[in-house]
């Protein structure tokens, strides 16, 4: 079947099998490897991206379901060479070690701040509770999201 999915504002049309998962469409058909493919079982959350502005685990959604819809991936956070504060927060607070969980963490963190600009630590931890980091113990991920909450203005650091 042919699908057209708008990924970070750009329509991507591709002939796919209906069984193709959205995470694979984004990585293979749209060519954007920032979204990571992890556990395949909706447990780890590294594949989190937004569909119509709402975060989903893209290993548990068919690309066919996103036909005609808007997808935003981690590559869509940076605008015109300027990093989103959530990205800057992960730099400032050393929010990653291996970096595998990072794209999903940033997409969930950005969504949280869009809906709740000043979350408590408990609210941050609850929001990322469906995502697994095996390096950091979450402390610096929480700190990174808090940094972004405290620095909502667009970062001046270029990508």
């Amino acid at each position: 079947m042919e699908v057209t999915i708008t990924v970070n504002g750009t329509p991507v049309t591709s002939e796919i099998e209906p069984r193709k998962l959205l995470v694979h469409f984004v990585r293979e058909d749209a060519g954007l490897r920032g979204t990571h493919w992890g556990c395949d079982t909706s447990n780890c959350g590294t594949c989190v991206l937004w569909v119509d502005g709402s975060p989903v685990k893209s290993c548990t959604m068919l690309a066919a379901q996103a036909d005609g819809h808007e997808v935003t991936t981690v590559e869509g956070l940076e605008q015109g060479g300027v990093l989103d504060p959530i990205q800057q927060g992960f730099i400032e607070c050393h929010g990653l070690q291996c970096g595998f969980c990072t794209p999903g963490m940033m997409m969930t963190g950005r969504w949280l701040l869009d809906n709740n600009p000043n979350p408590s630590e408990a609210e941050i931890r609850d929001c990322i509770s469906g995502q697994i980091c095996r390096c950091t113990g979450y402390k610096n991920i929480v700190a990174s999201i808090q940094w972004a909450a405290e620095h909502p203005a667009t970062s001046e650091v270029t990508a």
């Binding site: 079982t41 959350g45 548990t60 068919l62």
Partner: protein
Amino acid sequence: MQTPAPVDYARATSVADAIDLLEKHGDEARLLAGGHSLLPMMKLRLARPEILIDLNDLDELRGIRIEGEEIVIGAMVTHAEILDSPVLAEHYAIFREAEKVIADPIVRNKGTIGGSMCQADPSEDLSAVGSALKGSVVIQGSGGKRTLALREFHEGPYETKVGDAEILIEVRFPIRPGAGSAYEKVERRVGDWPVASAGVFVVVSGGVVTDCGIGLTAIGAEHFCAPDAEAYLIGKAPTEENLAAAAQLAADACTPYADQRGPVDYKLHLARELTLRTLRKAAASSQGA
């Protein structure tokens, strides 16, 4: 790499269209709601439908509304929408308390009440909520609609009374002025299925319990409820002694299996303790505490 077997895909344009597609394809078709149970089952080949009928475009299955003396939740309403609903929070705290511990915030954006009910997992939290509140479901087929009590909805684990060419379109809950309600779950880690959960509503009037419902999940309570415990409480004062006796009757209605989540005696202990805690809280809430 986990990927479903080859499958066809169709988007339903209306409930009637979905029913037409179901009639055309028979039991080789499966309805796709949130997909967070069906797609994992397809990856593991536990389910192998030939065609998926996607319900996600059907706005007629969305929305939470009051209709007369009932709250009506459309089948495609998500866990996140139930968690955030002011209408549900106003009438029944049990929805928010249960939804906070179902899966995680990202999964709750996709999973639906209709999908959860029809998946009929024996550990489903919303099934305990539905049985506790003595809700009902509306099921539609080409011959029209029928309403069925949730306490008669399940045939067994993963089996419901929804026919091959039928769709669950809404879940309905009676409004009970003055009711208190609560939900408690014990889970091994955030977002897991319960070791055991209990949810209740209680109406206390004139110092005695005049109405109540007790729901239990993951511990083998038939139809996710404990009718003997409910009957025991009616007409009695909500004292600690009476609530504890009812909680013991609720545990007596359970037949849990020992598994990696715990042994039988532990699960029966949880059945009693979680029922008691929720009864206390709901009774206090009904009395304005």
